[in-house]
Symmetry: C2
Subunit: 468 residues, 2 copies
């Protein structure tokens, strides 16, 4: 039975079912039923012809790791980028739910439709919170709630930014290794991802400048739409974009924008998860006229992913296209969750829970790093890792000859030893050519402290064996 | 200052900023500052070049009505398709929140990330609920929770269905007058909407057949992707697709699918809001092999829009593309809301609240219809309206010479009299040529009963004046 296979594509990319009509008519049912491999198909129809976006999409690579985890239940997963379970804000959310649902007026407002751009009080609180973090007043930063759009996690807003900016062939500059979920979305748009190198100080502005010059030289400057970076405790390296580099990146975007508008998307998902050192200013600080920086934040990492709420602060010019697009997609994110979050910020429960959360993760980060240091002492010259000031990730670099890729002997040995990590290749776009196949990401978000320690020990045993 | 205007488009649809570079350099700042109309612009930059989707999108037409409502605060709006406020399920949600958040394990599960396709227990409950409505077992209907995907309202799922099926130029057959939010989304995809006539029994299968034949004759059959219909108490007419027509539509899609796969998207948003008569089977009943019908439902209309949760039941073939696409967009809808809804269905609170809600809307529908009958008795021969068995809408038809369009004398007189409706033109695609400009939609969802009555009276006074 081949009649359910994808139909051949014709030159214009559309499917051609003409031969299939013949097939459907000429099936010899008798011989099919005599074929022991034949499974009854109620009808023989051509396959559904999906859109170009589907053709450009792949199954998210992370599903492979999830399947590995499921198939090996005793494995300690230091792979998932999810959050600590035990510290989720149960009491805080219960209290906020009680407050909102006990009063009939606030309850009715929360259970009714909201507006597409989000609950005004929450947008006001978000502006206040960013200004507090940036140690400026909202007006110093040129912020007001009209520039904020609330969505179903910051992922939805990053997706919407892609939707309103990108046609197939358009270009996004993105630091690598980088956030793979967004790379998948960008690839589904048909965007060309130009990978930019990162180092201890994050995305390298000189590399951005060089890339723009090269793109300009090939005549494609006008296809460049934005520069994307997870600027605080990047996923997967845990490294942070330094203040001088932030300034430089905004300046580069502004300078090139005199010819062709390029914006910078600062993904600040992990900003509030800082365990030591002082907060750095956001790029909004270097964009006083508010035309260059889009700043995306979330309540998933610093509070509760189950409430699935995030936001983006945008130049005024983006407001209408983004809201129209969100109007098509869902015309508004859960109003109930937005009212809960506004109440949690108003009461201070959000801020105080953040302190608890920082203590939890600080300890997990410490255990991760200390266990690496203790267990890998014998090979300390040949293995290195980042030691981030915040976030959920540590990036480990092995000698070049040790491949960490899925299915590699090292990967399989880790699985056998009972631990799972994410190989470096996941954090590079499909088009990337120089993937450092000897690196890997560790995430201590989900497992409790003793499982983090044990997971890192298992990894270390495999490292020692492969380097022995 | 013209430098912020949209740049001219070149032949290939991309913007050309070459002249703009010159402009930026040649601005005479002195004369600008001497111009009293000049507002300080910190930089002179070309406008952002948005995507083709943005170019294809218009500001949602409904914003015009919302602005009218805001500008005329004493107006009774029978325009918004929102839901009754006083009957929102405050006690039910408070109880479910208490149940879930009082137990640490259930609370942690609800506050953590969920899966992209949705909370399995909720998907199981959804299958049970549809089977109950269809008076069949899930297996009779070929349903299982793997065929269900949960999203941020059914709108998101309808959008995703469009995403995975439509490239620019692809064709959707859609009953008119029809749901304008989805038409806006389809237009943003660049889809060609082929309007299909509807009558008292809903979408006309003969018209669908004729449209397919015409499209086939022009050689475009392979661009046809799906037929979309709000099958229960349609928005805006309130009319329901009859059982024989449902059967016929599925049969038409199946027959044409032998050559080129066409699916039917049944939007059942209002199904559970039936105030008299018996429920009709869903199209799933006529699709035993589960390859033809996508069935979309929501918790917004029958329960609470603030929880912004909906679902779609799909042929197995759609599962992976839809989940991948949802993975790009948000990798999962609020888990907290999904856990609340699963608890609400488990406890029976969802089902019992539905009874209350039906009583509330039955009364509003009765008052709407009775007021129309009483007030318009003198012109009964010249004005007609639907008398739906459920839903939130009544469709009113005036004599052809009375235009109801935005800005028409009739529209303006209604505003002056203090009521707002939605003109017929909103429910037709931009491409439609034969819009019945003498029709309008009334919605009694939001206002309390006495305001519904008064709103209809105000409308009737204007009708009498214009027909007098």
């Amino acid at each position: 039975m081949t009649t359910n296979a994808a139909p051949p594509e014709t030159k214009d990319g559309h499917t051609d079912s003409s031969d299939r009509v013949g097939t459907a008519v000429s099936i010899d049912c008798k011989s099919l039923f005599e074929d022991p491999t034949f499974v009854h198909q109620p009808t023989s129809r051509p396959a559904v012809s999906f859109s170009d976006r589907v053709r450009r999409s792949e199954k998210p690579p992370i599903s492979y790791l999830m399947e590995q985890g499921l198939a090996n239940p005793n494995v300690i997963s230091l792979a998932a980028g999810f959050v600590d379970n035990a510290s989720l804000p149960v009491d805080e959310v219960r209290q906020a739910a009680t407050t909102i649902l006990a009063d009939r007026d606030t309850a009715l407002a929360a259970l009714q439709y909201g507006t597409t751009d989000g609950y005004p009080e929450l947008r006001r609180q978000i502006v206040e919170q960013i200004a507090r973090l940036d140690e400026r007043t909202p007006s110093d930063l040129g912020l007001d709630p009209q520039r904020v759009i609330v969505g179903t996690g910051s992922q939805q807003l990053l997706y919407l930014v892609g939707e309103v900016l990108l046609d197939p062939g358009d270009i996004v500059l993105l630091g690598v290794p980088g956030y793979f979920v967004y790379m998948g979305a960008l690839e589904s748009f048909g965007a060309r991802i130009v990978p930019i190198r990162t180092d201890e100080e994050g995305l390298d502005p000189e590399a951005v400048e060089a890339a723009l010059e090269a793109i300009d030289a090939e005549g494609n400057l006008e296809r460049v739409k934005f520069i994307y970076d997870v600027s605080y405790f990047n996923n997967p390296t845990g490294l942070t974009l330094s203040e001088p580099r932030k300034r430089a990146l905004v300046e580069i975007a502004q300078r090139w924008s005199k010819r062709h508008r390029i914006v910078v998307v600062e993904d600040a998902a992990y900003r509030e998860l800082r365990y030591r050192g002082s907060d750095l200013p956001s790029m909004l600080r270097f964009d006083p006229d508010g035309q260059t920086v889009l700043y995306a934040g979330t309540f998933s990492k610093p509070f509760s992913p189950g409430m699935k709420t995030g936001y983006v602060i945008v130049p005024t010019e983006f407001r209408e296209p983004l809201i129209n697009q969100k109007g098509h997609e869902d015309f508004g994110t859960s109003n109930l969750n937005q009212h809960l979050l506004a109440e949690l910020m108003r009461s201070g429960a959000y801020q105080s829970h953040l302190k608890t959360l920082r203590d939890v993760y600080r300890e997990k980060m410490r255990v991760t790093i200390e266990t690496l240091e203790a267990e890998l002492r014998p090979v300390r010259e040949r293995v290195s890792w980042t030691s981030p000031e915040g976030g959920l990730y540590v990036w480990l670099t092995l000698p070049e000859e040790i491949l960490t890729s899925r299915g590699s002997p090292f990967f399989e040995d880790c699985l056998k030893e009972g631990m799972l990590y994410v190989p470096a290749e996941f954090f590079y776009p499909r088009s990337a050519t120089d993937v450092p196949h000897h690196c890997l990401r560790l995430s201590f978000g989900v497992p409790p402290l003793d499982r983090v320690r044990e997971g890192v020990r298992r990894l270390a045993r495999v490292v020692l064996r492969h380097l022995g």
